[in-house]
């Protein structure tokens, strides 16, 4: 069954879309990640214009982060002041990201920006994850306890002016680093159509030294607002949010996430992470290969004033 997407302006198979939403939802439920960094490239692979894929995926992430975030909210595992500081930086970053996106769209380079951002982040993160999980697997085979990585010393950053007390995180640190981290992740969110949890969570643990029990909840809390901001800004500046597409992806996503969470409980942590790392690395390499090989068709056409 085909459905015509009014903003992407193409017909796609409704089963394919819900299936993709389900598959990515399954993986995000299994691995506990947002899934935007897998969904956006998948949408591009099936022929959705990259600019529409990014903006629409941000809309979908609003839904998945609300449903994920609520569980942490009930357990009071959200550091609200920290979330708000990150959010302030994130909303500013999303504004900057959407403006950059718009500018590059006008000169026909936005697809390149999206691909390059994905190649850089997916290969670095996939590579690091794979290395870490392989080390963990071999360590557990040898029966050694897994050593927790000692975070580096960054205390001078945290000691910058404008210090604030974050009771739940038991921190008294400058608000400058969280604002900068929020800004960076917000910009990524606008450019890549991701929540950015995979950058935000390690940054919170290793840079801000937040306790792990509040990290995911706080990350999801600010992702809700930042992706909402990205969605509205893209809708206003670029008219690239396809609500119908977002709705179909949400339906598949929420169902998949429930099954994924069940499957995730049955598999071992290190193996799961190795599997996720391979998927992330695979998508990154595919995008890199696409950039490096000569395309069959050198020409592309867009309507005047549209870049996507």
């Amino acid at each position: 069954m085909q459905i015509y997407l009014p903003i992407a302006e193409i017909s796609v198979n409704i089963v394919t879309l819900i299936g993709m939403g389900g598959l990515v939802g399954f993986m995000s439920g299994m691995f506990g990640v947002g899934g935007g960094f897998l969904m956006t490239p998948l949408l591009i692979f099936i022929g959705i214009p990259p600019a529409v894929a990014v903006a629409t995926e941000a809309n979908q992430i609003v839904a998945s982060s609300v449903s994920g975030g609520l569980a942490y909210w009930r357990r009071r595992a959200v550091d609200v002041p920290m979330g708000l500081i990150l959010m302030a930086g994130g909303i500013a970053g999303s504004y900057a990201g959407v403006q950059l996106f718009k500018l590059l769209r006008q000169i026909g380079q936005v697809d390149l920006l999206i691909s390059m951002s994905y190649v850089v982040f997916l290969t670095i993160i996939g590579g690091l994850m794979l290395r870490e999980s392989l080390q963990a697997i071999s360590a557990s085979r040898r029966g050694q306890p897994i050593r927790a990585r000692r975070p580096g010393q960054h205390s001078w950053i945290l000691g910058l002016p404008l210090r604030m007390r974050f009771r739940q995180s038991k921190l008294y640190i400058s608000v400058i680093p969280p604002i900068l981290i929020g800004f960076f992740v917000g910009m990524m969110s606008a450019i890549m159509g991701v929540g950015g949890g995979f950058i935000m969570v390690p940054a919170m643990i290793y840079l801000l030294r937040m306790p792990t029990n509040v990290v995911i909840g706080t990350s999801l809390f600010q992702i809700i607002f930042v992706t909402a901001s990205v969605t509205i800004l893209h809708a206003v500046e670029n008219q690239t949010v396809d609500i119908l597409l977002a709705l179909l992806l949400m339906i598949g996503g929420v169902i998949g996430a429930q099954f994924g969470a069940i499957a995730g409980q049955r598999l071992r942590g290190e193996q799961l992470r190795a599997l996720l790392a391979i998927i992330v690395l695979g998508v990154g390499i595919k995008l890199l290969v696409d950039l490096l090989t000569q395309p069959e068709e050198l020409y592309s056409v867009t309507r005047m004033g549209f870049g996507g």
């Binding site: 015509y4 609003v62 119908l244 709705l247 395309p295 005047m304």
Partner: protein, 260 residues
Amino acid sequence: MIGHLTRGGLVLAMLGLFMVLPTAMPTARANPIVADLSKDHISIRSNFVGEQLLLFGALAETPDGPIDDIIVVMRGPDETFTVRKKSKKAGIWVNDAAYAIGPVPGFYALASTGPLADIAPDRALRENGIGEQSLAMEFGRADIPAAERQQAIEGFIRLKQNSALYREQVGAVKIIGERLFRVEINLPSGMPVGDYITEFFAFQKGRLVGYQTGLLPVDIVGTGHVLHKAAYEMPLVYGTSGVIMAVIMGWGVAVLFRRR
């Protein structure tokens, strides 16, 4: 000049009148072609997967004998397109040269009773805007070398053909008993919206002896129409609605699965 006449014909066609090309026809003679479409408008709904449009009509015999050939042209609204060519920069294939081409139709379908070269001389075809080659590919800039221009035009036509927006169906028009003709034109799902022009050309021994034109409005309707309109006319409301929908959906799912 002929271009002007066809445009004038459009205005008449809007009034529901038929128009005869005076340059091509002796003035006193009746138009030997009457044509119609199976639909008077195309509605793109959410389940739109493209459509087959039947174009048909009747032919009258002229003093010189029956009509030999029919060419049917259907064109979408004119738009200006940006064509970009990728080239290798620092090992990466990136969009490099950009050309503004247009205004040209966003959709162009041609169907004929046989190969165009057998129907009429090249000049007659070109004057009447028949065939992709006759489309005026105007570039925004004048300083582009001829070879580069030609490549860009070929690239543009190839891309349009690949998405089924430009197509020539040679031999698809069937004349039945010298009196009737019919042809089916495929409208792809990605067709642009706007007013389409249909043109029917009747040829006899390489001469244009009959002509008729009409309009076919193509619109997005239903939910898709509302969404499309809102996205472009009320983007703030549209974007905010998207967010509200997502929050309700996410919240609903969380509540639903908690109760289990």
